[in-house]
């Protein structure tokens, strides 16, 4: 089976005419179809056919079947007048994890492969844990985009939030800032490292740093971390598997430890595409549509534990391709 090869026009036609079904469009989109803007890329040059509106799923069905687009998108925003992108009502809160952009990758592929897609799934799973735990948000939908995952949150408490709040949520989730280490009770200043605080943001941050350190490779590039320091981190990282942070810091040295942590914190911003999260009018790949560049189906993930993109997101025409 030839994976990740672009779909031909003929394959696209086969997909939309024989395999695609309007029922595969998730309910959370279908229910609000008349308030969303749709966009299409017909020639593989970006979504330049925008401001499309479908008042009923049947009209979308007809469009997809007849146009067989290279890519289909729909807005995360709900509008009173979606045709003009006017009268913004609210937007989903979105986190886009693209396997090819993961900052610390364990594979060395140039596009995406099974290893980095697996890694993306692991990252997404951790992000969802924090979204459900600390933030306690509901109505979370996970979509496999073809090259990564979209976490789409439709909790009514967040859908009207502005970009500034969304950006803070993002930074909280990915562990983008090193937590302060000085705390003042009005009389004495205490120094506390993030790993000694078992709650709140420092706990999330510690978990993200641990994940990154355990996934570093000899080829990883970290700002301000030279080869020697990287080598030492790799040498002693086993300590973190047992959460022996104090010993790890001691082995690395406190100043060098700080460098590693700061560098990973800034890399963490790359775990999620921040532009997507803060953009209230973004269009995202339509679940059920074909990602023609890699010939995979963008699809809603019902169970992240059992979801396997190579089983659940490969269109029939790919399986039938001749070697």
């Amino acid at each position: 089976m030839e994976m990740f090869k672009p779909a031909t026009l003929k394959e696209r036609k086969i997909y939309y005419k024989e395999e695609w079904n309007i029922k595969q469009v998730p309910d959370f989109i279908e229910e609000s179809i008349e308030n969303r803007e749709f966009g299409f890329d017909h020639f593989g040059r970006g979504p330049n056919d925008r401001y499309k509106v479908f008042t009923e799923p049947d009209y979308l069905k007809r469009f997809m079947k007849s146009k067989t687009p290279f890519a289909a998108y729909c807005s995360v925003a709900y509008y009173e007048k979606p045709r003009k992108r006017d009268g913004w009502m609210k937007s989903e809160l979105v986190f886009d994890v693209d396997a090819k952009d993961i900052p610390v990758r364990t594979c060395s592929c140039s596009n995406v492969c099974e290893i980095c897609l697996d890694q993306a799934k692991e990252i997404v799973s951790r992000l969802i844990d924090t979204i459900k735990g600390d933030l306690s948000l509901k109505d979370i939908h996970l979509v496999y985009s073809g090259r990564g995952y979209h976490i789409r949150v439709l909790d009514k408490d967040v859908m009207k939030m502005d970009s500034d709040v969304r950006s803070q949520v993002l930074k909280y989730l990915v562990g983008a800032d090193v937590p302060k280490d000085r705390y003042d009770d009005g009389e004495v200043i205490y120094r506390l490292e993030h790993f000694s605080i078992p709650f709140g943001y420092p706990e999330v941050f510690t978990e993200r740093i641990k994940y990154a350190v355990l996934h570093l490779t000899e080829d990883s590039k970290l700002d301000d971390v030279n080869k020697k320091l990287l080598k030492d981190v790799l040498k002693y990282r086993k300590l973190l598997e047992d959460d022996e942070w104090g010993s790890f810091k001691k082995e690395i040295g406190p100043i060098r430890y700080k460098k590693v942590v700061s560098s990973i914190a800034s890399l963490n911003m790359g775990l999620v595409d921040a532009k997507v999260t803060i953009d209230l009018k973004r269009i995202l790949r339509l679940p059920s549509s074909l990602h023609s560049k890699v010939s995979m189906r963008c699809t809603e993930v019902k169970n992240i534990e059992t979801f396997d993109p190579f089983e659940d997101a490969v269109p029939k025409f790919v399986r039938e391709r001749k070697e």
Binding site: D134, V158, V169, G200, M269, I278
Partner: protein, 433 residues
């Protein structure tokens, strides 16, 4: 001891004050010697002119609003003229004034009006200033009392603090969250984290992490929310009455009149603030803008030129005080014949676009139209006053957004610390010049 109703007029104590007063609206215009005596006894109060001293409840209502408007927009504003507002001695009178104000605005304008929004904002600012005037121990104690009182009624979800997070008054990372709730109460903290904390006393950790500042911001926010709810209830109740109280309607009109003064202070972009429209001084530009002006050699050219540089250069040249003025203007409000825009601003933007590699307009000539759109002139290839308003004149992007969208551009220098927007960097440096 500070009374709880000095900070929270909606507390049971505040409601009791109103009940004891009897709520006789016919007396609220009467001269109130007790109030006048108290104000005259406040040492820091300016009493050189009779007009600085409220004589009755209605005066006190108006003074609350006037303080807010003048503080925000009157260059001659003098805090000493309003010192009484922040002195606990006036608590009893102030509580009555608060209720009169909310009822007047609630009845006449309803909860979604400009006036109601302003009243809620005023309450928040008054509380903030009152807390600042207290001694450290008084402040901690009253905050603790009010917090305990408010938390009996409600637990707080982090999502209800969105506007505090958005305005950066609270950083989400500074909140201790559990299952969506902000942990503020010691008992909750102990229940959730007491057993997790090793080598340190959990109570100590609570004091370190659930700081007074966060508690203060949250009680302010909660009282503001309760004020809004109260105005809403007043409005709903008034809707069921045949004829609204004429005294309250009259007060509401006066409040509205004072608030509209705020708008009159605003106006042409070249005046009013410390920094006026003037030719751009390139030495004063922040590092990110200097980098952008040199042209972008890698990806993201259009974002840098169209979304970042265009709003910055146009506002820095024409309306540098946009954030302090807080009022939207059009380019032509300042540059009526568009000469400055055409001869100074656009050439700088186009030069920066040409310095990109590859030059931006070589492969994306449509971006010229997008630049005009970001200046507010719609999607047209020429700046035409008739098209103005078809799109919005984009305000300069915050540092936060620059870091997110164009991470390579942000190489902060010393002055960047504590700055939230590149335009503030420019205005601050110009002011120091």
């Amino acid at each position: 001891m500070i009374q709880m109703s000095f900070i929270n007029p909606l507390s049971d104590e505040g409601k009791q004050t109103v009940r004891e007063d009897g709520g006789d609206l016919s007396r609220i215009f009467d001269e109130n010697t007790a109030l006048i005596d108290i104000i005259n006894s406040i040492k820091s109060q300016e009493i050189s002119d009779d007009k600085y001293i409220p004589k009755n409840y209605v005066d006190l209502v108006i003074k609350r609003v006037e303080w807010y408007v003048n503080k925000k927009s009157d260059p001659e504003y003098n805090i000493k003229q309003y010192a009484f507002l922040f002195n606990p001695k006036i608590t009893k009178f102030d509580v009555i004034a608060f209720y009169i104000l909310c009822q007047a605005v609630g009845i006449k304008f309803g909860p979604n009006s400009r006036e109601s929004r302003a009243i809620v904002e005023i309450e928040g600012q008054i509380i903030e200033n009152r807390l600042e005037e207290l001694s450290s121990s008084q402040r901690t104690e009253i905050t603790r009392q009010i917090m305990n009182n408010l938390l009996i009624q409600d637990r707080i979800k982090w999502t209800s603090l969105a506007d505090l997070i958005s305005s950066k008054k609270i950083n989400l990372q500074d909140l201790v969250l559990k299952e969506g709730y902000v942990i503020l109460d010691l008992e909750d903290f102990m229940e959730y984290f007491g057993n997790e904390i090793e080598h340190r006393q959990p109570e100590k950790m609570y004091n370190l992490f659930i700081g007074n500042r966060i508690k203060e911001l949250i009680i302010i926010k909660m009282i503001m929310q309760n004020t809004e709810n109260y105005i809403k209830r007043v409005h709903e109740k008034a809707g069921r009455e045949i004829e609204p109280n004429s005294t309250l309607l009259k007060i509401a009109d006066e409040v509205s009149e004072v608030l509209s003064k705020e708008m009159r202070y605003y106006g042409g972009g070249s005046g009013g603030g410390n920094i006026k429209a003037s030719p751009l001084n390139v030495d004063m530009l922040p590092p990110c803008i200097k980098t952008a002006l040199k042209g972008i050699k890698s990806g993201g050219r259009n974002e840098v030129i169209v979304l970042f540089l265009t709003p910055f250069l146009s506002y820095a040249r024409l309306y540098p005080s946009v954030f302090s003025k807080n009022t939207s203007l059009k380019v032509s409000d300042i540059d009526s014949d568009l000469k400055i825009t055409k001869n100074e601003i656009l050439p700088m933007i186009h030069d920066a676009a040409d310095r990109c590699n590859p030059p931006l307009f070589d492969d994306q000539p449509q971006e010229k139209v997008n630049i005009n759109a970001k200046l507010g002139f719609g999607m047209h290839d020429k700046l035409n006053p008739q098209h103005e308003g078809k799109t919005t004149w984009y305000t300069p992007m915050s540092c936060e957004k620059v870091k997110m969208n164009m991470p390579g551009l942000c190489k902060p220098d010393d002055l960047c610390k504590g700055i939230g927007n590149p335009l503030s960097y420019y205005t601050r440096k110009m002011r120091k010049k």
